[in-house]
């Protein structure tokens, strides 16, 4: 086994292991409750999920797209959208910092932010 091959192996191993470590650490952190909804780089809403009332928020995009965000009993999820892949809807409830709800075609992101406002 050549030295270069070994270097590649070690690099890949480090990336893999450090990613797992980050994911596990983040998953075990007490989740913040501040949620931010961003569309096309602009923050539309920031609110405390545990205090938010049950409601639906409709987000329209300029090219006649829409996403419907539902807040229900302290959870938030994308309940409806007319994007082609519907990955945002299938992602389900926002659970951790590891997996933000992302709708790539409509440029919508729903994610947890830290209390200090550092995303």
């Amino acid at each position: 086994m050549s030295k270069k091959l070994l270097a590649v192996l070690i690099c890949l191993g480090l990336i893999f292991i450090s990613s797992i470590v980050i994911v596990v650490i983040r998953a075990n952190q007490p989740a913040g409750q501040m949620v931010e909804i961003i569309q096309d780089g602009a923050t539309l809403y920031t609110f405390d999920l545990s205090k938010a009332k049950n409601q639906t928020i409709r987000i329209d995009t300029p090219d006649s797209g829409y996403n419907v965000v539902t807040i229900q009993d302290g959870t938030i999820f994308m309940s409806e959208a007319n994007c082609p892949d519907l990955i945002c809807v299938h992602t389900g409830v926002l659970r951790s910092e590891n997996v933000p709800i992302v709708c790539l075609p409509h440029k919508v992101i729903i994610h947890f932010v830290d209390g200090e406002g550092i995303a």
Partner: protein, 166 residues
């Protein structure tokens, strides 16, 4: 370029495209934006080791353009192009370092580069760094998907080498 070479490359492009279109029909295994098996990568890995870099780039470019037409979303072309470009750079740089029976490593590197390229594009297009939170998950999924497609490419290369050694 000889007619034989042209035919081979065209055939590879067609196979990659078929795999790509079939994969579009499979519901995503993990419903997270950016996580995908990327089966068409098998052909790219194969091409990287069988053909010259510029020939591989031609196959990938043709597959990208035609794939975007079949999937019907032009925005996704930006994501897949940035991913595929970085993926190709990563794999070509490893081409001469990696011995014949370690090809799956090359595929993992390609997958990681691909996901990095996509997330850079996502940061640019969505104008926010919030998508970077996805990066660790994408790295893990890239390693797993890359290992899978890499092993497929490895088996393919081993078999074809045995049939018609180049």
């Amino acid at each position: 370029m000889s007619t034989k070479k042209l035919t081979e490359l065209a055939l590879l492009t067609a196979v990659a495209l078929i795999i790509f279109v079939v994969e579009l029909r499979i519901p995503p295994l993990v419903p997270i934006a950016g996580v995908k098996l990327g089966l068409a990568n098998i052909i790219t890995v194969y091409a990287v080791f069988r053909y010259k870099p510029n020939e591989t780039a031609m196959v990938v470019t043709a597959r990208l353009l035609l794939g975007a037409m079949f999937s019907g979303t032009i925005v996704s072309l930006l994501y897949s192009a940035s991913g595929a470009f970085l993926c190709l750079v990563g794999m070509l740089s490893l081409r001469n370092i990696i011995p014949k029976n370690w090809i799956w490593l090359c595929s993992i590197t390609g997958a990681i580069f691909h996901n990095i390229g996509q997330i850079i594009m996502a940061v640019i297009l969505m104008k926010t760094t919030a998508v970077l939170a996805n990066l660790p998950i994408l790295m893990i999924s890239g390693c797993i998907a890359g290992a899978f497609t890499g092993l497929c490419a490895q088996l393919l290369l081993n078999r074809l080498e045995r049939r018609n050694p180049s």
